[in-house]
Symmetry: C2
Subunit: 217 residues, 2 copies
DNA sequence: TGTACATCAGTGAACGCGCGTTCACTGATGTAC
DNA sequence: TGTACATCAGTGAACGCGCGTTCACTGATGTAC
């Protein structure tokens, strides 16, 4: 074989990696294949050695988030041993001020929902896959016997996505931060219902985080 | 004057009207000026008599939602007299199954957030304006003395948008409906805290609605 | 060890199409006189 | 009342550009003998 068998795979991964970041940042239509290939250190023509179409790459990029994002890695690290902590940590990462203000880190769930909703079947099911994974993590934070466990997991996901999606659209720093913070407090509060109840509105760690955000602005 | 002074205004409104529906359905890039003008019964060339660019029309379309959507009309009708009912009704309309399954009725908040987040300043501030309006309505449901009133309003908005944004992206009917329902229950529950508490998870009207949705599927 | 050959990741020019925008024109209308 | 004129919403052809996709080619590599 002309190249090592892993070589093509590594190139492909490199393309997907750059595509994911650029699609998240600028959306499906605003990123050209040329740009992506250039970012990956290649030229336009080679693209179709790896993918059958731009939409094909898009689905792949959405899918790739599952293996490459900091949330997923965090979950993998903390997942099985302490489900409640994993859920709490995921919420805190998801709704952190740092992530809100760095578009490149945005999860596809918040970065490209409109695009995906209008895209073909492949990107949509890649997206749905992430949704189910996150729901599993949140569901794990409640005892299996809790009849409202699934519902609470869904509410937490809705808060995570809703808070960030709206916050992202506005340039008003105060409104941004405040929408995000409200979602964070409520989500943590729902998670807190599994452990012995503390304050109704926020865990101590959320309060600490809030103070530090206020200092930053 | 060659045409009546209102004639141009009416034409302009007609263009914006069609643009709003089409942008919501297919996104900014996937709708051409040609299509919009055709839908409005005009030809390509006349577009620049009314708008300076496609982006200009986009901002206008987002803005227009405030005056033409069923939620806004509903709020205007119920608004001042009974703020709690207005908020409750808005939530129910927003998170209804009927709206979820009819893209044309989708509020820009859920239909085009990714597009807007990447668009210019004008569309973004048009979007932010709607956000503030909805927050006002929700805030009105809690007594001015309630220190958590603003936060609760933000949580409700996050739930409204989050639930619909995720639900929209998946084709799985069960998951769609269930995400939406979870958001609806939680939002109504938060609103319920103002009135004498009924059931913890849903108001009677929500339960009625849920049953009717289940029949439909 | 050396030579001829096959493979195929990557190159870069070219194609074709759609779309945002421009522009010279039309023709219906109201106004001046 | 009638006629010449100015206005301007709307028309449709044309321009120019970018981008997804195709394709003939290259040249580095491994294999056969």
């Amino acid at each position: 074989l002309p190249f090592t068998p892993e070589h093509k795979a590594r190139t492909r991964t490199r393309i997907v990696e750059h595509a994911r970041v650029m699609f998240n940042r600028k959306g499906f239509d605003q990123v050209s294949i040329d740009e992506i290939m250039k970012a990956a250190g290649l030229t336009r023509g080679g693209f179709y050695n790896h993918f059958s179409s731009k939409q094909d790459l898009y689905a792949e990029a959405v899918r790739s988030f599952e293996t490459c994002n900091p949330f997923a890695r965090e979950v993998q690290r903390l997942g099985p041993p302490a489900p409640v902590q994993a859920a709490r940590r995921l919420v805190e990462l998801y709704l952190s001020d740092a992530v809100l203000n760095d578009v490149d880190q945005h999860c596809p769930l918040i970065a490209v929902p409109s695009d995906v909703a209008r895209a073909g079947l492949e990107p949509r099911s890649a997206y749905t896959f992430i949704v189910r994974r996150m729901l599993e993590v949140f569901r794990g934070a409640f005892p299996a016997s809790d009849p409202r466990g699934s519902t609470k997991a869904q509410i937490i996901l809705n808060l995570c996505v809703g808070g960030m999606v709206i916050a992202r659209t506005t340039a008003d720093a105060e409104l941004r931060s405040s929408l995000r913070q409200a979602a964070l407090d409520q989500a943590l509060s729902l998670l807190g219902e599994t452990a012995p109840r503390r304050s109704r509105t926020a865990t101590p760690s959320a309060a600490r985080k809030r103070r530090s955000n206020e200092r930053r602005h």
